[in-house]
């Protein structure tokens, strides 16, 4: 059981590495991977594709910055943010904005595993943890 899961995860990683074209995930290659799994690994398909989906989602998240904001976020600011994050991470970053009134004021940016917190809610949480 454990070794089957390990083999599925190994295969998913292999397929994930094969899904890149010029340093970026290629929709065509991803489509090819899906076909390949269905055809050659039907018995393991669910397990392999779940692991593959996790890797693809993590890769997409690395290139997509989700910006949660309490007030209005001008487009110029969003663009500046995308540019600055792209420079910092050394890769192309697209910005997706999401209004979140629970932040009270400020921003919360999530890119890959990283979160940049500069909202009032975040600061209040830190304050309550510190006191």
């Amino acid at each position: 059981m454990a070794s089957a899961a390990k083999a599925a995860s190994e295969l998913a990683r292999l397929l994930f590495r094969a899904s890149f074209d010029q340093g970026a995930l290629s929709p065509a290659l991803v489509g090819g991977v899906l076909e390949y799994v269905e055809k050659h690994h039907a018995g393991q398909a669910t397990r392999v594709l779940q692991a593959y989906a996790r890797l693809v989602a993590a890769e997409e998240a690395r290139h997509r910055a989700v910006v949660e904001h309490a007030g209005a976020l001008p487009e110029a600011t969003a663009n500046r943010l995308a540019e600055s994050l792209g420079r910092q991470y050394g890769r192309k970053v697209t910005v997706v904005t999401q209004p979140n009134p629970q932040l009270i004021a400020g921003l919360r940016v999530r890119i890959g595993d990283d979160i940049y917190e500069s909202s009032v809610t975040g600061q209040l949480a830190e304050l309550s943890a510190g006191v």
């Binding site: 917190e117 500069s118 006191v131």
Partner: protein, 508 residues
């Protein structure tokens, strides 16, 4: 302005408008105190991670697409999908003199109901042991108060001496006696006002023990007035394996504070067999490859890195370690015992047979050894007890041989008689350490044959009476022996007069 408001103001001032960066992950699975986490791409090995609800964990397995963390806290509140974040800090525990007299858990949090601990500093739980240059050889004694040990298997400050034996052979008692003796010496030394006196503070780490046993140990320490010089780190059997795994390292960090600050400390790990079992449990849940007896491959390193932290530092203090190992049916050749024997600077082996024969402490002189302690033994003990180990070993050999024959020559009979007297003399009740000057007097009387006229069963009462006589009437002589730490012609003359006086008064 009230202090509470000031505190809040300070906290607000600390919160800058700069964005705070956190590296996060998501729990994929939680089982048996271990969480498998997706993400946490920036996490460092052994870094503390923050779980929701205030629980913390340590990242122990950094794999390609997941991180394995042990959870130090309530696992029942955690669920799949919960967010976890890195803290950028290694696990640290409070250290310092504020912890003396307190019982804490593996994270240094008080568990004795005596309120918060006002510790000013913290030390990382995992620390690289001092290197070669920083160390100094062991040359100062650490007196256990147990005659059989101080005279034949002496321990020095900065040494690692293993206490090994089956269950119920008095391993913990030896450790507790040693802690009590340090407290007694500390009281006398601090009261004397001697600027050269260096007190020894103790740390008792209880791993995987019953809570009732920990309470009993603490009561014994308190009754003997030793708790005020002792820190108890408790990771009882009911605690999760992660805490049991961490407790010895936390205790070592607390001991290191004393060592780094020019003080001497003693640490007892009670016991490392249960520690290894807790680590095996964690390792198996983390799916690390298992080896002999299902222990992971790094079980040697688990104990070597811990025990190497005990040292005597040049220009600073020392940390002496007394690890305890429980054997099964006296098998010292098992995996964990051989590992720890090879790491330590000697071992005190306790035998079930001796214990059952009423020889307590049940120290097996033949199998016990102290590799570096003789350099730390005081001259007076060497003078009166230097030959005891050889005599006792000879006695054991002769006693085994004499079982088969009845006709023994006079010399053999005399050797057997003397051996039995030494064995009798070394019997000592629990929690009753004997000051070193009293030990010297007792052994000097043995050396000079003062116990020879008594029947064997009267040797122990005679020695107790001699010590009592000296404690009540010859305090000045005892102080002289303690301060000079050697027997010269003058002291020997005084000793002879005093022991002769005692002999006249003792009914036999």
């Amino acid at each position: 302005m009230s202090t509470v408001l000031e505190q809040i103001e300070q906290q607000i001032a600390k919160l800058s408008h700069k964005a705070v960066k956190k590296n996060t992950g998501v729990i994929r699975a939680v089982a048996d105190g271990v969480a498998h986490i997706d993400g946490l791409s920036d996490v460092m090995y052994n870094e503390m991670v923050q779980f929701p609800g205030g629980a913390i964990g340590i990242a122990l397995n950094l794999e390609q697409d997941e991180v394995g963390c042990v959870v130090l806290g309530d696992v029942s509140q955690l669920k799949e999908g919960d967010e976890v974040s890195t803290t950028g800090r290694l696990l640290s525990v409070p250290v310092g003199e504020a912890l003396l007299g307190r019982a804490v858990d593996a994270l240094g949090r008080p568990v004795d109901g005596k309120g918060p601990i006002d510790a000013k500093e913290t030390y990382p739980v995992e620390k690289i042991a001092p290197g070669i240059v920083a160390r100094k050889s062991v040359s100062q004694p650490l007196l256990t108060g147990i005659m059989a040990i101080d005279s034949m298997i002496p321990i020095g400050r900065g040494q690692r001496e293993l206490i090994i034996g089956d269950r119920g052979t008095g391993k913990t008692t030896i450790a507790i006696d040693t802690i009590i003796n340090q407290a007694k010496i500390n009281k006398v030394g601090l009261a004397s006002g001697d600027p050269k006196f260096r007190p020894v503070y103790s740390i008792y780490v209880a791993v995987g023990q019953k809570n009732s046993n920990i309470v009993r140990t603490m009561s014994a320490l308190e009754a003997a007035g030793a708790l005020e010089y002792t820190i108890v780190v408790a990771a009882p059997a009911a605690d999760n394996p992660a805490n049991q795994y961490l407790a010895p390292y936390s205790g070592a960090a607390m001991g290191e504070w004393f060592m780094e600050n020019g003080k001497d400390a003693l640490i007892v790990y009670d016991d490392l067999s249960k520690h290894a079992v807790a680590y095996r449990q964690i390792s198996l849940i983390l799916k690390r490859p298992s080896g002999r007896e299902a222990f992971p491959g790094d079980v040697f390193y688990l104990h070597s890195r811990l025990l190497e932290r005990a040292a005597r530092l040049d220009g600073k203090g020392s940390l002496t370690a007394l690890p305890i190992i429980e054997t099964l049916a006296g098998d010292v050749a098992a995996y964990i015992p051989t590992n720890v024997i090879s790491i330590t600077d000697g071992q005190i082996f306790l035998e079930t047979d001796l214990f059952n024969q009423g020889i307590r402490p049940a120290v097996s002189v033949g199998l016990s050894v102290s590799r570096v302690g003789s350099a730390a033994q005081i001259k007076a003990t060497k003078q009166v007890g230097g030959k005891l180990k050889g005599e006792l070993a000879q006695f054991r050999e002769l006693a085994a041989f004499a079982q088969f024959g009845s006709d023994l020559d006079a010399r053999t009979k005399a050797q057997l008689d003397r051996g039995s007297r030494i064995v009798e003399l070394f019997k000592q009740p629990a929690f009753n350490p004997i000051p070193i000057e009293q030990q010297v007097v007792t052994l000097w009387a043995l050396q000079k044959g003062y116990y020879d006229p008594f029947e064997l069963r009267r040797v122990m009462p005679a020695a107790a009476s001699l010590r009592e006589y000296f404690a009540t009437r010859k305090d000045a002589l005892l102080t002289k022996i303690r301060t000079k730490a050697a027997l010269d012609a003058e002291i020997e003359g005084e000793l002879k007069t005093a022991v002769d006086e005692w002999k006249g008064s003792f009914a036999g």
